[in-house]
C-alpha cells in the first residue's frame, strides 16, 4: 500500500505533539514532510523563560532532536519558510525553492508578536519575545548591561522582565492597565504580584502609556517617552503586549480566515484536505495562546488524519507564571455575576491569596497566589464540573483537607497545648491568654489586647484569640462587641485604621490583601471608607480612587431625587457681592435652572441642573471667581458667621473675618463625615455656633472654641474645648482638632459621635494641654492641605473626567431599529 503524503507548515510544539499521536496510532500511514521557518529542530517554547534567565540552556529544552526525525522517517526542511500553496495541484513551495506535494496539509504557522505602532518601533534594540532568536538577542543585550524596558505586564512580559533582571540588567515594566496580568488575575492577586516584582528590584509602572521610542541619533534605542512626558533611558525595549495568529499564508491561498484561520470542530479549514493547528487557529471565535488547548487540538487532528471522527469543542485554560520563586496559577472564568459565589482565603503573613468562583456548586474559576500546589486539583474539578457542595466548607484549603469529619475551628483551638503560640508578633501563647482572661475577668477583645497584647499588632491572629475567648468564656463571650466595617471583613473601623498606619498600607488592594478581606473587591460600604482612610493617612502618596467615591464626590454636585444635580458655590463666611449675585442670576437664566434657594450654611443653592450641563455651569461660575462649595463632601462644608465688630453694636471680635480666614484655610480637606463650622461675634450667638461640629464664640477676652454639637438626627449642644486669646491661636487649635478627628474618626462618624467615643477630656488634653501634640496635629493638617486644595470644578472645566458628563452614545432612530 502506498503511503499518503502529509505536509506540515510550521514546526512548533503543537505539530510535534500531533505527530507523536499520529505515529503512536499508525506509524506507517503517512510520509511526513515539515517546513520550518526557524533554522532548528523542535524545542519547548514554554521553556524560553528559563533559558533567558540562565536556568536552562537551549539543549535542555529540545523536544524532538534530529535523531527523532530520522527515526520516524520525517523530512524536516529547516529555515524554509513556505511562501506558496497550490491547492489545485496540492503542492507547497518554500522561499528557498523546495516544493513538496501533499494529500493532507496541516498549517501550524503559530502566531506573531504584536508590535505597538509607536514612533521608533523599528529602531535597533526594539525586540519581541517569541522564539529563541529573540532570547539570543536579549542575552546579547544583557551582556552590555544597562536598562531594559519591557512593554506589557502580562505573562510573557513579566517572564521576560524577571529573566533580564536575573541576567543583571536594570528592568522597568510598563503596563497600560492598573494591575498586572489583568486578563488572568483579579486586582488583589495582581497587587501581590506587583509587590513581589518590586521587591526584586524591578521597576513596575502601571497605567503607563508609551508615547515614543527615542532614537539616540544613530538608529538605536536611547529611551522611551510616556504620554505624561516621563522619559526612561534604556538600551533595549522588549515588546510583549500580546500575539496575533499568523494567518497571512492561509488567507493568501483563499482559506477562510478572521482573526485566525477558521476551523470547524474537526479542525478542518474551509478546504477539507487542509487542517489548521495551534495558535494560528480560530475555533468558535476563540484563539488560544496557551499550550493545553493546542495539545487537545493536536490529538483531534491526529485522529482525523486517520479517518477518525474526533471533535474539538474548545478548552478552558489554566495559566502558570514561570518565574522562579513566584507561585501563581489561574484557570477558568472568574468574572463576577450574581449567579456566582466566591470563596476567598487570604493569609497575609504567608503572602497567600486564593479565590474560587463557584456557579451551581461547581468551580468555574480559580486564582491562586503564593501557594499553588492545589491548582491542578481545582482545575480538574473545574474541567469535570464536579459538584463541590459536600466539601464546600473546606474546599479552599485544598485536597489534603478533604475526607474525614469537617474541622471545627473552635475544637481545634481548644485542643492546642498551653504553650502554643497564638500571637507571633508579641510572642503570646495560649496558656497566658487563657490565664489572663480568667484572672482579670476579661470579656472583650479589646480587654484581652490591652492585658496580653495578643492580636494587638498586625491583628491577623484576631480570629484565633476570639476562638480562645469562646473556649474560655463559653456563653459569657459576646463576639459582637466589635462591629465589623461591613460584610467583607470581621474587623471594625478602628482596627482597620490602626492597621493601615502600622502596616503602612497605601492602596485599597493592599488593605484588602493584608487584612484578609473575604471578598475580592469590597463593597459599597467599605470602599469609600478605605478610600477616605488612605487619603487621610497618606496625603502625598495615595492616589484617590475615583470609583470608590459616592456619586456626589465624583461629580462634585449633589444628586437629587430625579437624577438632576444641585450646585452650591462657596461664599466665604457667608459674604457675597453684587457681582457674584449677578453671575449666579446669569447662570440661572442661561441654563434654565428651575430652583434657587438659600441654604442653612449661608450660601446659594441652584437646584435641578442636568448632569450634562454641570461643566458649563461651573465654567461660568468660575469666571466670576466662584469655586466649589463642596456642599456634597465628607469634608469641610461651610463656616457660618455673624457680622461681628464690622457692623454689630454688640460684636466683640471680627467674627466674619475669622470665619473667612478659617474657611480659606480649611476648604478642600476631607473628613470622616461632613464638617460644618460657625463663628459668632458675641455670646448672643447669632451664627448658632453651639450646635455645630466646631464653633467659635467670640468674647471680650478672646475666642471660646466649641466642638461636638449636632443639629440633625440628634440635637446636642457643643462642648467647650477651651479659651484662646488670639485669632491665630484659634485657627491653630481648630485645625489641630479637625486633624485629630480626621485621623481617628470612623468613616461617616460625625464629630460628636467620635468625641463621645474618645472622651471629651482626652480631646481637651491633647489639643489644649499638650502643646507638642497640638503642633504635630496642626503640621499634619497643613501638610495634607497642600494636596487637598484643588478646586474640583475648575479641574473639570479643563476636561478632567469628561466622560462622566457626556453620554457614551446617543442612538438615532435608524440605529435603534
Amino acid at each position: 500500500m502506498t503511503q499518503k503524503k502529509l505536509v506540515i507548515v510550521g514546526n512548533g510544539m503543537a505539530p510535534g505533539r500531533m505527530l507523536e499521536h499520529l505515529f503512536e496510532k499508525d506509524a506507517d500511514a503517512y510520509d511526513v514532510t515539515i517546513f520550518n521557518a526557524e533554522p532548528r529542530v523542535n524545542y519547548n517554547r514554554l521553556m524560553l523563560s528559563p533559558v533567558l534567565s540562565g536556568e536552562k540552556t537551549y539543549e535542555d529544552i529540545i523536544t524532538h532532536g534530529d535523531d527523532w526525525y530520522a527515526e520516524h522517517g520525517v523530512t524536516l526542511h529547516k529555515a524554509a519558510r513556505v511562501s506558496a500553496i497550490d491547492r489545485d495541484a496540492k503542492t507547497v513551495t518554500s522561499e528557498t525553492g523546495i516544493t513538496a506535494s501533499y494529500d493532507k496539509l496541516v498549517i501550524a504557522t503559530g502566531s506573531n508578536p504584536f508590535i505597538i505602532p509607536l514612533p521608533g518601533k523599528d529602531l535597533d534594540g526594539v525586540l519581541t519575545y517569541r522564539d529563541l532568536d529573540d532570547v539570543d538577542r536579549m542575552l546579547e543585550a544583557a551582556k552590555r548591561g544597562g536598562r531594559a524596558i519591557v512593554i506589557g505586564g502580562g505573562l510573557l512580559g513579566l517572564e521576560a522582565a524577571a529573566g533580564l533582571k536575573m541576567q543583571g540588567m536594570e528592568v522597568t515594566v510598563l503596563h497600560l492597565m492598573p494591575t498586572l496580568m489583568e486578563r488572568q488575575l483579579d486586582p488583589a492577586a495582581g497587587f501581590l504580584l506587583e509587590t513581589e516584582f518590586k521587591r526584586r528590584g524591578i521597576d513596575v509602572r502601571t497605567k503607563a502609556n508609551s508615547h515614543e521610542i527615542v532614537d539616540d541619533g544613530t538608529g538605536k534605542v536611547k529611551a522611551i517617552r510616556l504620554d505624561d512626558g516621563t522619559e526612561i533611558e534604556a538600551g533595549i525595549v522588549v515588546m510583549a503586549v500580546g500575539i496575533r495568529p499568523s494567518a497571512d499564508l492561509a488567507k493568501a491561498v483563499g482559506l477562510d480566515t478572521n482573526r485566525g484561520i477558521l476551523v470547524g470542530d474537526d479542525m478542518r479549514t474551509s478546504d477539507p484536505d487542509i487542517f489548521a493547528l495551534g495558535e494560528c487557529v480560530e475555533h468558535r471565535g476563540m484563539c488560544y495562546g496557551l499550550v493545553a488547548p493546542l495539545y487537545e487540538m493536536a490529538e483531534v487532528i491526529a485522529d482525523n488524519l486517520l479517518e477518525g471522527n474526533a471533535d474539538y469543542t474548545g478548552s478552558v485554560t489554566a495559566t502558570k507564571l514561570k518565574v522562579t520563586g513566584v507561585d501563581l496559577y489561574s484557570a477558568g472564568d472568574f468574572a463576577e455575576g450574581d449567579d456566582r459565589e466566591e470563596i476567598v482565603l487570604r493569609d497575609a503573613t504567608a503572602g497567600v491569596y486564593k479565590r474560587l468562583v463557584l456557579k451551581d456548586n461547581r468551580i468555574i474559576g480559580a486564582v491562586l497566589y503564593g501557594e499553588t500546589s492545589d491548582g491542578p486539583w481545582f482545575f480538574d474539578l473545574l474541567k469535570k464540573g464536579t459538584d463541590v457542595s459536600e466539601m464546600r466548607e473546606t474546599l479552599i484549603f485544598g485536597q489534603a483537607y478533604q475526607g474525614g469529619a469537617p474541622l471545627d475551628p473552635t475544637a481545634a483551638v481548644a485542643a492546642l497545648p498551653d504553650d502554643a503560640e497564638i500571637c507571633g508578633c508579641n510572642g503570646v501563647c495560649k496558656g497566658k491568654i487563657v490565664a489572663t482572661i480568667k484572672e482579670k475577668g476579661l470579656t472583650t477583645l479589646d480587654g484581652v489586647r490591652a492585658h496580653t497584647k495578643a492580636s494587638n499588632s498586625c491583628g491577623t491572629c484576631t480570629g484565633l484569640v476570639e476562638q480562645l475567648m469562646q473556649v474560655t468564656l463559653g456563653d459569657a463571650y459576646n463576639p459582637a462587641t466589635v462591629t465589623p466595617m461591613c460584610g467583607c471583613t470581621p474587623l471594625g473601623h478602628s482596627e482597620v485604621r490602626r492597621l493601615i498606619k502600622s502596616k503602612e498600607l497605601k492602596t485599597i488592594p493592599a488593605v484588602m490583601q493584608e487584612l484578609e478581606w473575604t471578598t475580592s473587591g469590597g463593597c459599597a460600604k467599605c470602599r469609600p471608607a478605605l478610600n477616605y482612610y488612605l487619603v487621610s493617612d497618606w496625603p502625598d502618596e495615595y492616589a484617590d480612587d475615583y470609583q470608590s467615591r459616592f456619586i456626589n464626590e465624583r461629580v462634585h454636585a449633589n444628586i437629587q431625587k430625579d437624577g438632576t444635580y444641585s450646585v452650591v458655590p462657596r461664599m466665604w463666611g457667608g459674604m457675597t457681592s453684587s457681582k457674584e449675585l449677578r453671575a449666579i442670576a446669569d447662570v440661572v437664566d442661561k441654563f434654565d435652572i428651575p430652583a434657587v434657594k438659600c441654604t442653612g450654611g449661608q450660601r446659594i443653592d441652584m437646584l435641578g441642573i442636568r448632569k450634562e450641563d454641570l461643566p458649563a455651569v461651573w465654567a461660568d461660575l468660575g469666571k466670576a471667581g466662584f469655586v466649589s462649595g463642596q456642599a456634597y463632601a465628607k469634608g469641610l462644608r461651610t463656616v457660618k458667621t455673624c457680622v461681628g465688630t464690622d457692623w454689630c453694636r454688640f460684636g466683640t471680635q471680627d467674627s466674619t473675618g475669622l470665619g473667612v480666614k478659617l474657611e480659606k484655610f480649611m476648604w478642600g480637606s476631607w473628613t470622616p463625615a461632613k464638617l460644618k463650622m460657625a463663628v459668632s461675634g458675641c455670646p448672643r450667638n447669632c451664627a448658632e455656633a453651639t450646635c455645630k461640629d466646631i464653633g467659635i464664640i467670640c468674647v471680650d477676652s478672646g475666642y471660646e472654641i466649641h466642638f461636638a454639637g449636632a443639629a440633625g438626627l440628634d440635637i446636642k449642644g457643643t462642648e467647650v474645648l477651651g479659651l484662646v486669646k488670639t485669632e491665630d491661636e484659634a485657627i491653630e487649635y481648630v485645625a489641630a482638632l479637625a486633624q485629630m478627628y480626621r485621623e481617628q474618626g470612623h468613616y461617616l462618624e460625625r464629630i460628636y459621635k467620635w468625641a463621645k467615643r474618645i472622651g471629651y477630656d482626652e480631646i481637651r488634653r491633647q489639643i489644649m494641654d499638650d502643646a507638642d501634640m497640638r503642633k504635630a496635629y496642626f503640621d499634619r493638617f497643613v501638610f495634607s492641605q497642600k494636596f487637598a486644595q484643588v478646586d474640583p470644578w475648575s479641574e473639570r472645566v479643563s476636561g478632567k473626567d469628561k466622560h462622566e458628563f457626556k453620554p457614551m452614545a446617543v442612538l438615532t432612530k435608524e440605529a435603534a431599529e
Binding site: P178, E182, D186, P187, F334, A335, E336, G337, D338, D339, R340, T519, S520, G521, G522, C523, A524, R527, P528, Y546, Q547, S548, R549, F550, I551, N552, R554, V555, I559, K561, D562, G563, H803, P807, M808, A809, V810, L811, K813, A815, A816, E817
Partner: protein, 113 residues
C-alpha cells in the same frame, strides 16, 4: 415583535467606560446605563432603579452589582434584580463584546414597548 429578532447596536468601546464605573447611552426617551466591572465584564441596564427610578449609572459598582445612589438599593448587573430583602427588577439588555467594541441588543426594549 418577538424577542427572537435581535437588534445588536454598537455603542462604543470598552475603554470608553472607566473600570468599576458606568456610562449612559441615550435611546430616545430611555437612558441605558452601561457598566464595566473590575474584571472588564460589561452589563447594560435601564438607568432606573426599581425603587424610585434612581439613576443606577451614578452608583458604586462592586462585585457584579451596583448600589443605587439614592437609597442604597443593590441591583444585580446581570439580571437587573434587586438584591437582599428588596424586591423589584429593572430591564437588563444582552451585551456582547467584539474586539473591544460593545454591542447591546435593543430588541428587549421593543418587546417592552
Amino acid at each position: 415583535m418577538t424577542a427572537d429578532i435581535r437588534n445588536w447596536v454598537q455603542i462604543g468601546s470598552l475603554e470608553d467606560i472607566p473600570r468599576e464605573g458606568a456610562r449612559c447611552v441615550k435611546n430616545g426617551d430611555m437612558t441605558i446605563a452601561v457598566f464595566r466591572t473590575a474584571k472588564d465584564d460589561v452589563f447594560a441596564l435601564e438607568d432606573k432603579c426599581p425603587h424610585k427610578n434612581g439613576p443606577l449609572s451614578q452608583g458604586i459598582v462592586h462585585d457584579g452589582c451596583v448600589t443605587c445612589p439614592l437609597h442604597n438599593w443593590v441591583i444585580s448587573l446581570e439580571t437587573g434584580a434587586a438584591q437582599g430583602a428588596d424586591e423589584g427588577r429593572t430591564a437588563a439588555f444582552p451585551v456582547r463584546l467584539e474586539d473591544g467594541q460593545i454591542l447591546i441588543d435593543l430588541s428587549y426594549s421593543h418587546e417592552a414597548v
